[in-house]
């Protein structure tokens, strides 16, 4: 057999091995969570807030963390979109391709992308102390928004950079101002926005370090932005730290719920993406 066919076979084999390895890890993680978490999962878990002594094996559930996480994810995603869409639009429609500002901005977002969330948390915490704020839902939303903005901007920007020049030209030729091209641009990069949102939601809902200092943790459901809020990752953390095996199992059920929420959001995201990208050129 000729050398290049052998190469082809080896390369293909390596790709399959790599894919299987990733798949095996994912299956292993989900299996572990499922094995320990599923038996402990019951309606009480997802419908009630922790009763007294919950972390020592008492009754109740983690509704506080579920609601807290959803609030934070929802709030920060909306806030993040509102801030990053104008940035992406400005970078790609207003600035020329060789703009220095665009270069520096993209570099800055790349750096921000890599900063660990605990640093965002600590940064936000010092500001909150300065402002005299307590740990609160508002603080949590703020820090998670900061955390996901680079993800939003960079992943939308990748798609927006592919905007066909002809498309913008055609829109200008109809007498559109730069601002008026926004409908066209948004429709064209809709799949990118959806992907960016999915990535951001994944990071936002799974983040523990950022919200630890800023949103705090509580057994009740927040009714205003100034009250502290519990989150699922922290809930997992606190239950897992318990020496009681039953409580540890509950940590796995909480993780299962977290994964389920991410799954539902991903599927919804895919459906919405398909709907919005049907017009893409």
């Amino acid at each position: 057999m000729r050398l290049k066919f052998i190469e082809e076979k080896i390369a293909k084999g390596l790709m399959i091995v790599a894919s299987l390895a990733v798949f095996a890890f994912v299956v292993n993680i989900i299996y572990t969570i499922f094995r320990r978490g599923f038996p402990a999962l019951n309606w009480e878990m997802i419908s009630q807030i922790p009763a007294g002594g919950y972390y020592n094996g008492g009754g109740g559930g983690i509704l506080n963390a579920i609601v807290g996480s959803l609030y934070i994810v929802l709030g920060s995603t909306i806030l993040g979109l509102l801030i990053s869409i104008p940035v992406v639009f400005y970078l790609n429609v207003y600035l020329k391709k060789d703009s220095k500002l665009a270069y520096v901005a993209r570099l800055a977002f790349d750096v921000l992308f890599g900063i660990p969330s605990i640093v965002y948390g600590a940064f936000a915490f010092t500001i909150m102390i300065y402002l005299g704020m307590h740990t609160s839902l508002g603080g949590g939303i703020l820090v998670i928004t900061l955390l996901i903005i680079p993800i939003f901007i960079r992943s939308m920007d990748e798609v927006a950079q592919q905007l066909p020049k002809d498309l913008l030209d055609s829109t200008y030729a109809l007498g559109a101002t730069k601002l008026e091209t926004i409908t066209v641009v948004l429709r064209q990069i809709a799949p990118g926005i959806a992907t960016a949102t999915l990535l951001s939601v994944g990071r936002a809902i799974g983040d523990a370090a950022g919200v630890m200092f800023t949103a705090g943790f509580t057994d009740s459901i927040p009714t205003s932005l100034s009250q502290p809020a519990a989150t699922l990752p922290l809930s997992v953390f606190f239950q897992l730290s318990s020496p009681n095996a039953d409580v540890q199992d509950r940590a796995y059920s909480a993780a299962l719920i977290l994964i389920f929420i991410v799954l539902v959001i991903s599927i919804l995201g895919r459906l919405i993406t398909n709907y919005f990208s049907k017009h893409k050129i």
Binding site: L167, S170, A173, A176, H279, I281
Partner: protein, 284 residues
């Protein structure tokens, strides 16, 4: 009217003929279609250090098809993009001179760039429908310029789709994505989209070069039909296309206008040696 009949004896149906007659009468009374006017004087254009357009002076005749011909890289497309100032978005571009469209200098600081562009329908080389439905593609420009009345919009969409001969093909799927149309249909949709904002000129940049022969024939025929209402400026590097449909020809070479004039004069009796050589196919 004479020239119209002369150009397409077979196409002049009674109704078309009649409507044209009407326009003629109106024109005499000063109520008819406005004469459009485009004049370039002493235009020089540089991109970075390169001198792209050199001292261009020309006039575009009203309600005629003007073909800009010349070898690749001679500045035809750049000139076309200067007419609606899309060239402004090019990095390092500088120009001087003036282009008069009707009674405004389009380089004047007080001139609203969107007004100029609204007057110039653009048809690009590759069809480029907007990422929305067929209906919205046409309605987009009108909505942007303030037309909100649903009935009026429906009427405009139908009218313009009929004008480009697309109505029968798409009337049952107006809300389907425009990207699902064939490439030839997309190009006609783009033309209709441009017409919907009521331009005076149609700028076409090698508008048929990406199309199959039948679709390009469709577009060519549309141009011939549309010239009764619009002044059409067509950049082409297909000489045969220019021969078929041009009323007026501008020959460019290395950024300069070498010769301009009525089509039969240029094609049958070119005054410049360079033009003659180009037409004979000595270079392209």
């Amino acid at each position: 009217m004479k020239s119209y009949l002369y150009q397409n004896p077979s196409r002049a149906t009674w109704a078309e003929d009649y409507s044209f007659l009407n326009n003629d009468i109106n024109k005499e009374e000063g109520l008819g279609i406005k004469k459009s006017y485009l004049k370039v004087s002493d235009l020089n254009l540089y991109i970075h250090k390169a001198h792209i357009l050199k001292n261009v002076n020309l006039e575009i005749p009203d309600k005629k098809i003007t073909c800009i011909i010349g070898p690749s890289g001679c500045g035809k497309s750049t000139l076309l993009k200067t007419f609606n100032r899309l060239i402004d978005d090019t990095e390092g571009v500088k120009y001087n001179g003036s282009i008069w469209v009707d009674d405004t200098d389009i380089f004047d600081k007080k001139t609203e760039i969107t007004d100029i562009r609204k007057k110039m329908g653009l048809l690009s080389q590759r069809p480029c429908p907007l990422p929305m439905s067929i209906y919205d593609n046409i309605a987009f420009g009108c909505k942007m310029h303030g037309e909100r009345n649903r009935k009026k919009l429906n009427q405009i969409v139908e009218e313009q789709l009929k004008a480009v001969g697309l109505w029968a093909e798409v009337k049952d799927r107006l809300h389907a994505p425009a990207s699902k149309l064939s490439i030839g249909q997309q190009q006609r949709l783009c033309l209709a989209r441009g017409l919907a904002v009521e331009p005076e000129f149609i700028l076409a940049d090698e508008a048929t070069s990406a199309l199959d022969p039948i679709s390009s024939k469709n577009i060519e025929e549309l141009f011939v039909e549309l010239k009764k209402d619009y002044s059409i400026i067509l950049v082409t590097h297909t000489l045969r296309q220019a021969l078929r449909i041009a009323d007026h020809v501008i020959f460019m070479y290395l950024g300069e206008v070498i010769e301009a004039g009525p089509a039969d004069e240029i094609f049958n009796n070119p005054k410049q040696e360079l033009t003659r050589k180009y037409l004979e196919g000595a270079f392209s």
